[in-house]
């Protein structure tokens, strides 16, 4: 049974895929084919963050309900690290000084920032005129460029000082809800940013947010989720009102692929050994589906039913 399961966000590290769902954190070690519960977490996680430590280890962060949880043992146990406002977006990366930067975007209090992997926090909302954060992403080259983006209920902001302060970016549509964000894997070179809005379509910048263009063909659409292919730097996927669309030219033009509806989270996982790519989509009350052919066809993942998950979580 997958119908009642809502999937809010994906994250990945070391060939493992994590999903923040309505029944807790799930993980898959087989490119999204099967999913199991990852530890017990007392909040409804809406966002995930991964801070790699070495080659096969990572600090996991889950934001949601009344704050944020962190796990030092890859999800076996979780501890509360931030309480208060609902954490709607989480991002983490080491910086050039070796600090473990974690940022939590909240529903009502802007951005909280930690430099010690989420142990201690300070407010970092300087420059944000809107404290309702909906999406957040950091540059793949964060340690070098200190760049990140935050989508709020009324626009988009950028930091170039590691999240200490934010600057409003002028978009072609004023006061738009920016609910999804994705930076090209080679953002350091191409400076391509995609921003998905609620009802105002998809926006693309080729200069790290300085100027933006609205993508024809997706105007007036809501873009709930965005992700980039891992293997091909110019391929991206977007979840729209009318299903999944795909671009093979770095987000300039898009074509409709298939229509699993109500997709609110997307991720692409590359199997290093088989050199294949799997697109994974999380749906609102519709479970997880996956595609091995570039989003043309989709099959449901084998997910333990919420009831089973709940039973299992009791025993962990």
């Amino acid at each position: 049974m997958t119908g009642a399961l809502s999937v809010f966000a994906f994250a990945q590290f070391d060939q493992r895929l994590l999903a923040a769902t309505s029944v807790g954190i799930l993980q898959s070690a087989d490119s999204g084919l099967t999913w199991t519960q990852l530890g017990r977490i007392p909040i409804v996680a809406q966002s995930l963050g991964v801070l790699p430590r070495g080659s096969a280890s990572a600090l996991l962060l889950a934001g949601g309900g009344p704050g944020m949880m962190r796990s030092d043992d890859e999800g076996c146990s979780w501890s509360v690290t931030l309480t208060g406002s609902t954490v709607t977006a989480t991002a983490a990366s080491p910086n050039a000084d070796g600090e473990a930067i974690v940022m939590a975007g909240t529903e009502t209090d802007g951005i909280m920032r930690s430099i010690d992997g989420g142990r201690t926090w300070v407010g970092a909302s300087a420059g944000l005129l809107d404290l309702e954060v909906l999406s957040m992403t950091l540059s793949p080259a964060f340690a070098d460029d200190n760049t990140g983006f935050v989508g709020t209920a009324s626009g988009l902001y950028r930091t170039r000082n590691g999240g200490k302060a934010w600057r409003w970016l002028e978009l072609p549509v004023m006061e738009t809800v920016v609910q999804s964000l994705a930076l090209a894997p080679d953002f350091g070179l191409t400076r391509i940013v995609l921003a998905g809005t609620e009802g105002d379509g998809l926006l693309r910048s080729g200069d790290a947010g300085r100027t933006w263009q609205m993508i024809d063909g997706l105007r007036d659409q809501s873009i709930a989720a965005l992700t980039w292919s891992v293997g091909a730097n110019s391929t991206a996927f977007a979840a729209t009102d009318e299903g999944i669309v795909r671009s093979d030219d770095s987000g300039l033009t898009w074509s409709k692929m298939s229509d699993p509806d109500s997709v609110i989270a997307l991720s692409v996982l590359r199997d290093k050994t088989a050199s294949t790519e799997t697109v994974v989509a999380g749906r609102a009350a519709g479970g997880i589906v996956r595609s091995n052919d570039g989003a043309k066809t989709w099959t449901p993942s084998s997910i333990i039913s919420p009831a089973d998950v709940a039973d299992k979580s009791e025993s962990i």
């Binding site: 970092a124 300087a126 404290l131």
Partner: protein, 529 residues
């Protein structure tokens, strides 16, 4: 005319030139990355000399030189350096050496029978070409590390340069960056979120006992542009807030005692009264903008608005409001963001038009409130003197960074100026006008000559190479090598050089026109040891 003396013609101009030379010699050692310092004798006995490395401060401290007519020349240069410093915060030594060379050449030529007016025309034509050429050479500067690379040489600390680069990027070229002392030895940058102004709660009795801060969560906000003198005027607003189960923040220029008494006696219901920011000359705009930021209707006495007619949707909102005795802040104010953006654009053009530095500071404060961000660079140092020295460098670096963000950068170290020579050569001028253009072109070589001299190199070969390389590579005086300016970060802010040329040319023209110097009687000297 008792006690007065007059000097005319070539003698007068020669005296001016001697004074200019003395003052230039005092600041020239401070130019470039291998600059040296200048020690200035104190005004009182028993204190050590002041060791300085900034042209603006050196000229400021040099109150007079020997010789009354020479002193006039020195003061002319002092004024020139200060004008450049006030306009762009940096570039004083560059301006001084260019001005000296230009005035020297022009005075000598006029002394040999040249036409001062034609010379002046030639210099002005050439200046226009040079400024256009600098525009053509310039590239935009955007990233924090680009700003940092550009100012690192003058600030002499890469970490502080990056802090300033990041701060300028965050607040923008027009934003507020305050420079303050830090109790520690380390320089840090702090970002101020939301809206903040340095006037606090209207009464100390609004604080709870033993607390000096009031915080309201999700308050309604009432903004009035006139003092609140009648307590009954506030009752409808208080009723609305109580009905909505929300605290109420009241912002007004002042409150009389009876109004405050009502608020203090009801403070348990979440009432807070704070005074609005009232910058002299911009009071109305500042209050209007606070209302805009909060999404509140401004109750305007001049329009005949009455607080007793207030409706719930006349109130603004914020996520949080706080006040101390001397400060008020708002976080997550709920104004119409599109309207705020329009206002930001209006205030920016107001800033561009403002000439007075005091007015510019107040406009920047308003911009900071509208943009929801300001930065404070807290300068650390081991001694008060070292802290003050770093503070001056930080302020100059901020000014240079602002100029670079606004007008881009050009190859630095004097090489960008030299690269304008070919464009000046193309000017079709005859006779003494052509000489004037040539004199300016030669004068623009002077910064590189001085930089080379200060680094212990022979000047002529360096300048010749600079002409050949046409700013594709620039002279790095630290290593005596030619490097790519954009890679090495050896850059100058175009607007700084533009302003230097404008000021230098206007001073040169003034000096060229001067024919007679009149010295007044010396003032009586008093001295209290």
């Amino acid at each position: 005319m008792r006690g007065q003396a007059v000097l005319s013609g070539d003698d007068a101009r020669a005296a001016l030139l001697r004074g200019i030379a003395v003052m230039t010699a005092a600041v020239a050692p401070t130019l470039g990355p291998t600059a040296r310092t200048v020690a200035i004798a104190p005004a009182t006995f028993g204190t050590p000399p002041e060791v300085l490395d900034r042209a603006a401060t050196i000229t400021r401290r040099t109150i007079a030189i020997q010789g009354p007519f020479e002193n006039m020349g020195a003061m002319l240069l002092r004024h020139l350096v200060w004008r450049v410093h006030e306009a762009v915060g940096d570039g004083g030594a560059t301006a001084a050496v260019i001005a000296h060379r230009l005035i020297d050449g022009a005075i000598r030529y006029v002394g040999a029978g040249g036409d001062a007016l034609a010379l002046q025309h030639g210099i002005q034509h050439a200046a226009d070409v040079v400024r256009a050429e600098l525009c053509a050479q310039s590239r935009p500067i955007e990233l924090p590390r680009e700003i940092a690379a550009m100012i690192a040489g003058s600030i002499r600390d890469n970490r502080t340069a990056l802090l300033i680069g990041e701060a300028l990027d965050a607040v923008g070229a027009d934003g507020v960056i305050q420079v303050r002392d830090s109790p520690s030895t380390r320089t840090e940058c702090e970002y101020i979120p939301g809206v903040r102004w340095d006037v606090g709660a209207a009464s100390p009795y609004l604080f709870d006992e033993q607390r000096d801060r009031v915080t309201l969560d999700h308050p309604l906000v009432l903004v009035s542009d006139s003092a609140i003198n009648k307590p009954d005027e506030l009752v409808p607003a208080i009723d609305i807030a109580i009905g909505a189960h929300r605290p109420l923040l009241i912002i007004a220029p002042d409150f009389n005692e009876s109004a405050l008494a009502l608020l203090v006696s009801n403070k348990e219901r979440g009432l807070l009264a704070v005074k609005a920011p009232t910058p002299v000359g911009q009071r109305e705009q500042a209050i209007e903008e606070i209302a805009l930021i909060c999404g509140a209707r401004l109750f305007c006495q001049a329009r005949g608005d009455r607080l007793r007619d207030i409706k719930p949707n006349d109130m603004g909102e914020a996520r949080q409001a706080w006040a101390t005795r001397g400060m008020t802040g708002l976080l997550g104010a709920n104004g119409n963001r599109a309207a705020i953006r329009c206002r930001v654009a209006e205030v920016r053009s107001e800033l561009a038009r403002a000439i007075d530095e005091d007015a510019r500071g107040k406009i920047r404060d308003r911009l900071a409130r509208l943009s929801g961000i300001a930065a404070i660079v807290r300068v650390g140092g081991t001694t008060k003197q070292s802290r003050e020295e770093i503070e001056q460098r930080v302020e100059a670096a901020i000014a240079t960074g602002r100029a670079a963000l606004q007008g881009g950068a050009i190859p630095g170290g004097g090489c960008g100026l030299i690269a304008t020579a070919s464009a000046v050569k193309c000017l079709r001028l005859d006779g003494d006008e052509a000489i004037g253009a040539k004199l300016l072109s030669r004068a623009l070589e002077e910064p590189l000559r001085v930089i080379a001299r200060n680094s212990g190199r022979e000047e002529a070969p360096v300048v010749n190479d600079a002409h050949d390389l046409a700013a594709k590579r620039v002279f790095d005086a630290r290593t005596a090598t030619w490097v790519d300016p954009w890679q090495a970060g050896i850059l100058d802010a175009r607007l700084v050089l533009d302003r230097i040329i404008e000021v230098v040319v206007s001073s040169a023209v003034t000096t060229l026109r001067t024919d007679t110097l009149v010295r007044g009687p010396a003032p009586p000297v008093t001295w209290t040891p």
